[in-house]
Subunit: 287 residues, 2 copies
Amino acid sequence: MNIAFIGIGVMGRGMVANLLKAGNDVQVYSRRRESAQEVVAQGAVWHDSIKGCVREADVVITMVGFPKDVEEVYFGQGGIILSAKPGATLIDMTTTSPKLAERIYSVAKEKGLQALDAPVSGGDTGARNGTLAIMVGGDEDAFLRCAPVFEAMGKTIRYAGSAGKGQHTKMANQIVIAGAVSGVAEAIAYAKAAGLDVNEMLGTITGGAAGSWQLANNGPKMAEGDYRPGFYIKHFIKDMSLAHEEAADRGLSLPVLDTALAAYRQLADEGYGDEGTQAIIRKYDKE
Amino acid sequence: MNIAFIGIGVMGRGMVANLLKAGNDVQVYSRRRESAQEVVAQGAVWHDSIKGCVREADVVITMVGFPKDVEEVYFGQGGIILSAKPGATLIDMTTTSPKLAERIYSVAKEKGLQALDAPVSGGDTGARNGTLAIMVGGDEDAFLRCAPVFEAMGKTIRYAGSAGKGQHTKMANQIVIAGAVSGVAEAIAYAKAAGLDVNEMLGTITGGAAGSWQLANNGPKMAEGDYRPGFYIKHFIKDMSLAHEEAADRGLSLPVLDTALAAYRQLADEGYGDEGTQAIIRKYDKE
């Protein structure tokens, strides 16, 4: 299949490599050409503009940073909506607003294009190994047609419903994580204050009802003060802010999400936005 | 070994059965004689008083409800401290205050007794199957001497340090759970408000960074409205209140724990204290 891929960051590199491995022709565009060097060496074709990149593609995939970046690549001058060939399917894999996903879907439809929202979880490791979880919203026939594309990049691939539902599923995922990672941080802060051996405590509780991916993976990092990013604080803030807005739009108050969001915003204000989400433990360390 | 076991509730029954299976002589006492029928049929010996129950025992185990019950069985008229034989080891397996554990330890020591605090996690299933996690505080030699007793009841058995440290480890466990279960509830509330298929959403996210025991076990119960108790709200409130107090004593603020505690207290006020902790989803359902 002829696939255009826009946004070659740490996630995009792994995903393009897997699309190439599966035998697709992949056209790439990114803000900075250097980002694409690795995938071009693997066989992807570089283009200097979005227009050139997407013109011949059957499927256009976007994996950029923030909602404003998504708006720009879809709706900007020489953007995807105006440049894609009739009948193409547009797949936004950025975690972004469900409302924006619905808007892309509607505008695309008017132009004879189909759009899917397909955010992922699994991080750069999942992108590299082709084991991402992919949550897809949009028309089911478009989803089914793109199944081979998703299967090249992910392991758990689920159709979540109409346009925006992929993004809503990702929001739910991030809300679960907000509670889990906060609980782990508060327990470690408590354990330190109570004079426990933190690693011993983690080893004791990890197999029971307190057990989680966050406890197993971010607990030891918090204990050691290893704040290197697996998942950036600045991106988690974006996701939680979107979830907060969508909940508020529905009259729903999520106090634990809001508490976590406030803590992360404070950390970002203090200059820690490029650290990993486990750095939430900093908030308790200084108290 | 001659073991006295005080407090034959849903946990105590399983634990006594496993102590008997391991070849111990077990003396039992409980507030209500009927509670002990099953273990007496299995070979435990009933006593009408704490004094009679503990008099000849090498090891005295308590598994009662609340800190005030612990105080009563240890310090009351005819209680354990005054009735245990010299050299006996007292093990409180109730989840209770670290401060109370330290007090029992000190008073016991003055009387020539040794005391361990050894709260558990794993619920009634763990008690029945002998797979509890047991977190032990007190003198290490007493812990080592009691190893066969713990091994009869549990799988993960860890020495956490001086008196009170077993309870502190359990507090850390409950703090992790408070964040995790709240995050799951908020995500399910969000998913319902956003029109997602909740079970489909849970299936999509369970294998990734949002994955946890709480998501896998309490998520589907929340989705179905099954509020039967695995772990009672009233007991979780007790544990979280103790954790809050201990944190506050150390000048530590745990906002996510406090948010969960407030939600559960509200539910208990509304009459849901005998439901399982997954019933926290009720708080969002009415909003």
